[in-house]
């Protein structure tokens, strides 16, 4: 038994998957990166003082009217096209009616049965290199709500709060909701598929430059619908909708948790309640939210304050021409150009290093060096800080130019590999460029052959057995002598030069 408050019984994942097939539906909300809101001219900047980016329209003041943001519609169409969707030649907004204090009009202007994009797919690459095709049901436009802050309670939730504050800065920010068709047949890989889908979608949206897709800031939010069916059954079970799962890792964990929870209920002879669930990042569990009943009726009807959106075929084609290379194809192309193995490429992708490596190669480094330096010490440090490498590097002021310089120091022979690592650490420690670090730390391969020869002679003298073996033709034994020469010179020697000298001395070259 677990002691986490609110946790319910779960079946071990392997057992759950042996008895049931998971069926998933993923709903992703993406805040578009437009300069202004969906239906008014207010700025969308994140983090402004509460209620400073508002006007009569997004506050829902009596008499105010919405006007559609054209850039948002274009973004929606581009997203639809990138997801291989059909684009509706004519569609309308609809009002979704329900009362909530952070919703200024007490209806959300959304789309209902006429989404701007529908019936597409996204191919998702899994860790083993295989591909899963996630079918897209629809992508539609809507506006975000305000944000409630419940004060005085211990949980930040409304229960127990003494009062609530509402910030309407977010009200009216353009959102695209992307809904998958039921994702079936993944079996035990359901959590991996869910995570890979959201990651792939994130990359795609980033490449489209329509959103900053920062899950931690809420500009990309994921709701996970999940149900289980007994193995082989074509009938879907009762689903739950876990709201606001806001990191890739959480998507995976939430699916895994809900599979185990559903399975425990079902094997215990119970039935799953159709409800929304809250995801708890810290404890990795979900708890019951609001029960979805038939009483929930949003009374959708076409928004009479807006004219239909009717993009011409020419407009759609013009937007199609602006689509960037799909991330998967781009990765394939870059892998070929860089000569990376599948495994090397996957590591670079998973670490989020594609752009950095690309920039570093463009700046003049070799692909191998770019990969090596960005996935080494800096990745270890970024991981400790809980950051990704690109943002960590940016914060530190470490750039592709540093890597280029570092590689040049090695190829020119000034630094050997160990010294280069020290220089790189210095760069990461904020000591300057690789050259200034090398200068300051006195890093330089010893070019003085006199000193090197002395060291070689000393080592040969001290190791007659090994020297004899090398003389006898066992050239591989020279490694032991090189190591000692490096120690003698405190690592300042060039290993290649030392090897050549030893072989010369022993007449084995």
């Amino acid at each position: 038994m677990t002691t986490t408050a609110g946790a319910e019984a779960t079946l071990p994942y392997d057992q759950a998957i042996a008895a049931f097939d998971p069926v998933m539906g993923l709903e992703v909300h993406v805040e578009l990166g437009t300069a202004t809101k969906m239906f008014c001219g207010c700025p969308t900047e994140f983090g402004a003082e509460p209620n400073t980016q508002v006007c009569p329209v997004c506050l829902g003041l009596p008499g105010a009217l919405p006007v559609v943001n054209e850039t948002a519609v274009e973004s929606a169409i581009r997203i639809g096209l990138a997801l291989n969707c059909e684009i509706a030649p004519w569609c309308r907004f609809a009002r979704k009616n329900y009362f909530y204090p952070d919703m200024p009009k007490n209806f959300q202007t959304s789309q209902y049965d006429e989404p701007i994009a529908h019936d597409g797919y996204l191919d998702v690459e899994l860790e083993d290199g295989s591909t899963y095709r996630v079918e897209i049901e629809r992508a539609h436009m809507e506006e975000d709500t305000g944000k409630s802050l419940h004060v005085g309670g211990s949980t930040g939730r409304i229960h127990g709060a003494t009062h609530s504050l509402v910030d309407y800065n977010r009200a009216g920010i353009p959102l695209i909701e992307i809904v998958t068709k039921p994702i079936v047949g993944t079996g035990e890989r359901a959590p991996e598929v869910a995570k890979a889908y959201v990651a792939t979608l994130r990359d795609l949206l980033k490449a489209l430059e329509v959103s900053d897709v920062k899950m931690e800031q809420g500009s990309m939010r994921c709701d996970v619908n999940l149900s289980l069916t007994p193995g082989g059954s074509p009938v879907f079970g009762t689903r739950t909708e876990t709201k606001n799962v806001n990191s890739l890792r959480s998507v995976e964990r939430a699916v895994r948790y809900e599979v185990g929870r559903h399975a425990a209920i079902l094997t215990g002879g119970g039935s799953v309640t159709q409800e929304t669930r809250h995801w708890h990042e810290d404890t990795g569990i979900t708890t019951s939210g609001r029960v979805k009943s038939d009483a929930e009726d949003y009374r959708y009807f076409p928004e009479p304050d807006l004219v239909p959106v009717a993009p011409s075929p020419e407009t759609v084609e013009a937007l199609r021409a602006t689509l960037p290379e799909p991330p998967a194809e781009r990765r394939k192309r870059l892998q070929g150009q860089w000569g990376f193995s599948d495994l090397e490429m996957r590591d670079v992708v998973n670490a989020g290093l594609v752009e950095l490596v690309e920039q570093t190669v463009a700046a003049g480094a070799s692909p191998a060096a770019a990969r090596k330096w960005w996935s080494g010490e800096i990745a270890r440090r970024a991981n400790t800080e809980g950051e990704d490498v690109p943002s960590y590097a940016q914060r530190l002021g470490v750039t592709p130019a540093h890597v280029v310089e570092l590689e040049e120091l090695v190829t020119s022979g000034r630094l050997n590999d160990g010294m280069a690592r020290q220089a790189w650490e210095g760069v990461l420690d904020g000591e300057g460029t690789p050259t200034t670090v090398a200068d300051a730390r006195g890093l330089e391969v010893v070019r003085d052959t006199g000193a090197l020869e002395a060291a070689v002679d000393k080592v040969i003298e001290a190791n007659p057995d090994v020297a004899e073996k090398v003389r006898g033709g066992k050239v591989q034994a020279v490694g032991a002598l090189i190591g000692q020469v490096m120690r003698e010179t405190r690592g300042q020697a060039d290993a290649g030069q030392a090897r050549q000298l030893i072989l010369d001395r022993l007449g084995a070259s």
């Binding site: 008499g63 009726d297 009374r299 959708y300 009479p304």
Partner: protein, 506 residues
């Protein structure tokens, strides 16, 4: 110079001001004095802005003296229906729920009035959120008909019709969702136009039913209505349903008053049975006047009109139920705490406020609309109503193939006594039987006085309808009829209205 400035129309005042024979301050002052004298009994206004109106008047007078280029209507005062937002002036929509709310922004139409230099005298009374045909549903008490203070001035824009009819303002802004400009004009002997849907910006018009609402001019003459129409009409980027085209040439049409060769279509479904005999009689005579002026008469049939009222009372409440959801006490307006609840939730405050803040007619329509949009009923109610709407538009399209304009009596009866239909919503709704089809189809309509009904001596209205964006035809027909009738009567119909006293009745 002894002209009674309160009886002068907008065109006449504009001439006097331009000629320097009077000042805007003088005109404004005279109208405000008239209000002090008579509005105690008429109750056209919910709010009078003496200071603001005089300040605008002084500003215009100063600019005129300085030789500035001014708008033709600069200095001509106007009253605005309390459904339009006015920066710094209370806007209640005749509802308790907005009591004390002062909007931080002007409706586009109000911005245009201000830009033209027209002093805004005040905000006129209306049925709560424009729901009604009598102003009896105003939370602040009804307005009264200057022809008979015991009778209704029409609704919802009874404040705007009576303010013009009682010479408190030469012009007023009304809004028309199912007849709220035209029916009040008809029963008060004044002129009112509902422009083509999208012809005047709705930005700042507190929505009753978004797809039906349209603001327009109220006045005592057809030319005055046209002059105001030109000020407020035209494209507004803040209203995406606003039409991006020039305002139809309404002033020119009103001045020419030419109906030569025009085909006037009498809508069979909107005459005869159900229409008061005196109203029908004045209508028939008006048609004859138009024939005498050179028009041709044709009869047209619009069979789907039978379903117009039913469709209207599904579409309107549906949209209204959603439009009025925003009145929830969270951000502005009334806030009422529920009785006996210690620490009420937001939802409880919303419910208590809406219970206390909305009147019975508003609640009736919110309930109707919520029901009509409910899942399982949507197709049968809202869906069917939209189909009827399409059929009505088709009927109009067919009718306009054989007629240039369509005509009918504006309202079935003259003004009825206050209280007469308050307990019978259906009887109240039937008042709008002839005006509703235009709103459903988005076409423009006008009401002009046709005379006094023999049986009660009260004004009757003559309605003209035209195809979308052919608003100028309304003005041609209206002006032609007005010219012949005033010639026949030897003056304006309002010259025959009784003098108002300052006493409050009963």
């Amino acid at each position: 110079m002894t002209t009674d400035l309160t009886r002068a129309g907008a065109a006449e005042l504009a001439d006097l001001l331009r000629a320097g024979e009077t000042s805007s301050r003088e005109v404004t002052r005279a109208l405000l004095d008239r209000t002090s004298a008579v509005d105690g009994s008429v109750h056209s206004y919910l709010h009078v802005d003496t200071e603001g109106a005089l300040a605008t008047a002084d500003d215009v007078d100063r600019r005129r003296a300085a030789g500035d280029q001014l708008h033709p209507l600069a200095g001509v005062p106007i009253a605005v229906k309390d459904v339009m937002t006015t920066r710094g002036l209370p806007t209640t929509c005749g509802s308790r729920i907005l009591e004390g709310w002062v909007p931080p922004y002007d409706a586009t139409l109000v911005t245009r009035l201000r830009a033209a230099g027209m002093p805004i005298l005040g905000k006129t009374n209306m049925d709560e959120f424009a729901m009604g045909s009598s102003t009896e549903h105003s939370a602040y008490g009804p307005s009264r008909n200057p022809w008979d203070l015991g009778r209704i001035p029409g609704g919802s824009g009874g404040g705007s019709s009576s303010v013009v009819a009682s010479f408190q303002a030469p012009l007023a802004i009304g809004t028309d969702t199912g007849g709220s400009i035209r029916q009040p004009a008809a029963v008060t002997g004044t002129v009112g136009t509902k422009p083509t849907y999208g012809g005047v910006s709705r930005y700042g018009l507190v929505a009753l039913a978004s797809s039906l609402d349209q603001a327009g001019p109220c006045s005592r003459t057809v030319l005055d209505a046209a002059l105001l129409h030109e000020v407020i009409g035209g494209h507004d980027p803040m209203d995406s349903t606003s039409i991006d085209a020039p305002v139809p040439p309404v002033v020119e049409a009103a001045r020419r008053a030419d109906v030569h060769g025009m085909r006037i279509g009498i809508v069979r479904e909107l005459t005869g049975e159900g229409f008061q005999a005196g109203v029908q009689q004045r209508f028939d005579e008006a048609v004859q006047h138009l024939v005498d002026a050179g028009a041709e008469v044709v009869e047209v049939s619009c069979p789907s009109f039978t379903y117009a009222l039913a469709a209207y009372y599904l579409i309107l409440p549906s949209e209204a139920s959603s439009n009025l959801a925003k009145f929830d006490a969270m951000r502005y307006g009334l806030r009422v705490a529920p009785d006996g609840v210690d620490a009420p939730s937001a939802e409880q405050v919303m419910a208590a406020t809406r219970e206390a803040g909305f009147g019975p007619e508003v609640k009736r329509r919110i309930i109707l609309g919520t029901y009509a949009l409910s899942s399982g009923y949507y197709d049968a109610y809202y869906g069917s109503a939209q189909k009827v709407r399409r059929l009505i538009a088709d009927d109009f399209a067919r009718a306009f193939e054989t007629a240039d304009v369509l005509v009918s009596p504006t309202a079935p009866t003259t003004a009825f006594p206050l209280g007469d239909k308050l307990d019978d919503p259906m009887a109240m709704y039937l008042n709008d039987i002839a005006t509703i089809p235009a709103n459903l189809a988005g076409i423009p309509g006008m009401s002009v006085p046709s005379g006094l009904a023999d049986e009660d001596g009260l004004p009757a209205g003559f309605q003209v309808l035209a195809p979308a964006m052919a608003d100028e035809r309304l003005y041609a027909v209206g002006a032609a009829l007005e010219a012949r009738l005033t010639a026949a009567w030897g003056g304006s119909i309002l010259d025959r209205a009784p003098e108002l006293t300052t006493e409050v009745p009963r």
